[in-house]
Symmetry: C2
């Protein structure tokens, strides 16, 4: 029974790839208001695609970018699939080997790959599920079962409209369990189900000193330089052991249960390879922790952007009036983003010397989440994935923040099973993002198998 | 005799202002290669202007922007006048109240002023000298005496072509003494002759960590973040007393002679006003020094620009591969910029953690200079300026770097007398740069008086 669907997936890969390329050509960068019309276009493209497949699909406008919700009613358990159609910005553009929005097939280390912004995160991934539904329908004449597809357009920009939308549309979205495709393989042979996700808190700060840009000859010495102040603030965010110094930061960080640490230590993970692939050789961060421990179970504070003064060609002897940074925190356990935001802001405020002021802008705040793997969907997922891939599937953590899983838990009382087919070298959020055709193909097959297990 | 020239200046101010506006409309930003044709155009405009006045004027091309040299031979002492026709960049453009290259007459705190990039630094100032020559010629039928005018187009970008040009054109440039117009009044009633100038050393550094931009979810924790490293480096450049920590930095910094400190303390200078005008209230910088002491006699280290990661709208959870800063040092006494450059680079290198590299780019290196005020030109200057302005002229220092004075000393054996009519609130290097019409008018009259004293 499942074999005919898998065969159908195998024989229609070219057409599936063409459909993905269409979606990738849409410049749906959610964080930059300039691309709002593109986000709208991506949502419309998906509504049209899902309607054609037999879903009752609609675009739901929000104060931000629209949601897409598609429904197919049928008897049996009700699954909700979640993905996001928005993508990261593309800068620095000069480091791309081709136009980020003109998908190209390129040679990869595991065969051909599709290079484009969003190819892996998350357009390629969400299309594996839709293509599995398409193949199922081609073979059986009907969609696989009781399904809702829910696609968001603000995942890369803090999802400001998500929680209000979920709260206002509980009936529309309530199902038995959630499937999410926005994560990666554990290894090239080993699929993974993510059971722990870090939360995320984003902060932008602007430190102001003099009321105007000054000449460093006339004022250098007596006048306060906000870049110096900002550097001092940022360099004080970690102590000499790599720990974050924001007061109370570790209050709600649990110790890792021994059993989970043992399972992770048993995974086939090479710390050196992990670092070497990105040009590094030594673990930075908290002293005495393994890489997996840090990424999956420890909170961080990172500076994601900094700017101030003159950064053009040549030199300008300016003492700027303002200096800026974007700082983010990855959160774990019960860390409360709002409490940490307040503590961070108070700490910065306290460090300011005379004549400096600081203003803050929040960019999203989500708690970490942990899944209850006793739910039967997890056993079904492990089996289906282990059938498709060379090695058995593993429960893993994820350093990234997919706050939606926590929202589904808290707002709609649903567990989420996170399955995905990305690889560490996909360069998501970086120039030359790509998605292996093997990920796309076996990903589609994996969903078909999971659907067969669940329906 | 001088009165007829002064009357002529008074009655031709409107036409003089129109000529200055023409020069200000040329976008001669020297640091940005995009504006090279504009620098050429400014040089050509000046050659044409000086030729029309009767000078034997020519553009001298260099590997960078051209020099303008204009000669009028006559009996008597030979004076060389220096100014620069290039200007600073204009960013942030949104803070200008009008197009920086469309000069506007605006209301100022001392009557009307001319707003435009370069109005004060240095096009307005250099034109005071040229207009004095023009009025002299209008009245006497000939230029005032044995004169060379030497105008540079790279002053705002480290003057890379200047020293080679001076070395290769000693005969062309050799005179008895130099007059420079690129400084300011000491107070609104008090003209000044600058006798001390700080040197300048510019450094741009790029710290590289991972070989590509990383996702802060996947790598946040174990991966090195170059912005964090840069912040730490920059925040360590000063100690808690505001002193620069670069090894050996103060080795060649002399104590200020008591006599000069007393003269400065006797000047009518209000530290509070100086700071309040730019939105500050407390002296930053080295503890226990007055503002004048710091600006005129102490070296500094300032961060003039910083950038790395994402700085667009919204948020991007990136760990960037690179972070950058532009750092400059103001130098005094016998501080050797090359020695300090090496010491700074070694210090940064030593601070780098594993997996980080740094690359440097030098942006100009000039020593401080101090004038020998025994030369008779200084007595003549003091008298002429004191005749024109309400209060007597003062010998002062200057925190800015006009390395040309040192070059004239070292390469051509000439003393320079620096006289200028800018004000602290001219916003040079900042948005809304302006030059008071009073400065332009009385500046022109001042030069006419100085020429009358010297010829």
């Amino acid at each position: 029974m499942i074999d005919t669907v898998l065969d159908r997936i195998d024989s229609t890969q070219d057409a599936a790839l063409e459909r993905l390329k269409q979606l990738l050509r849409i410049r749906s960068i959610s964080t930059d208001p300039e691309y709002a019309p593109d986000c709208l276009a991506a949502a419309d493209w998906l509504v049209s695609e899902l309607s054609e497949l037999g879903f009752d699909a609609a675009r739901h406008d929000t104060p931000g970018h629209p949601m897409v919700v598609a429904r197919h009613s049928a008897p049996g358990p009700h699954l909700l699939f979640y993905g996001h159609y928005d993508v990261q910005p593309v800068d620095p553009l000069n480091l791309w080997d081709s136009d980020p929005f003109d998908p190209q097939i390129v040679d990869g280390d595991m065969g051909p790959a599709l290079r484009a912004r969003g190819s892996s995160d998350d357009k390629g991934q969400l299309m594996t599920f839709i293509e599995a539904c398409r193949a199922w329908k081609d073979v059986h004449g009907t969609l696989p079962g009781n399904l809702t597809i829910f696609l968001e357009g603000e995942e890369e920009s803090g999802s400001p409209s998500l929680v209000p939308f979920m709260q206002e549309n509980k009936d529309l979205l309530k199902a038995d369990v959630v499937l999410i495709c926005d994560t990666g393989l554990f290894g090239d042979e080993t699929p993974a189900i993510v059971t722990r996700l870090r939360g995320l808190l984003g902060e932008e700060l602007t430190i102001t000193g003099p009321s105007l840009d000054l000449h460093s000859g006339m004022y250098g010495g007596p006048a306060r330089n906000p870049i110096r102040v900002l550097s001092r603030v940022l360099s004080s965010l970690h102590d000499s052991h790599g720990r974050v110094t924001v007061p109370g930061f570790y209050d709600d960080v649990p110790d890792l249960p021994t059993q989970i640490k043992q399972q992770w230590d048993g995974l086939d993970f090479d710390h050196s390879d992990f670092l070497n692939e990105v040009g590094l050789s030594e673990l930075a961060g908290e002293h005495g922790r393994t890489a997996l421990e840090m990424i999956w179970s420890r909170p961080t504070c990172e500076i994601n952007g900094i700017w101030g003064g003159y950064n053009g060609a040549g030199f300008k002897t300016v003492l700027p009036s303002e200096a800026h940074a974007k700082v983010s925190f990855r959160l774990v356990g019960q860390q409360d983003p709002h409490k940490i935001r307040e503590s961070f802001r108070a700490m910065v405020q306290d460090m300011l010397p005379a004549d400096c002021t600081v203003s803050f802008k929040g960019h999203g705040a989500s708690m970490a989440s942990e899944m209850n793997t006793d739910h039967p969907v997890f056993a079904a997922g492990l089996k289906a994935l282990s059938d498709e891939w060379p090695k058995p599937a593993a429960f893993v953590g994820c350093g990234g923040s997919i706050p939606i899983a926590g929202h589904f838990q808290r707002i709609l009382g649903m567990e989420s099973m996170l399955v995905g087919f990305g690889r560490d070298n996909d360069a998501i959020h970086s120039p030359n993002e790509k998605y292996d055709l093997r990920s796309f193909h076996k990903g589609t097959r994996s969903w078909a198998r999971i659907l067969a297990e669940l329906f």
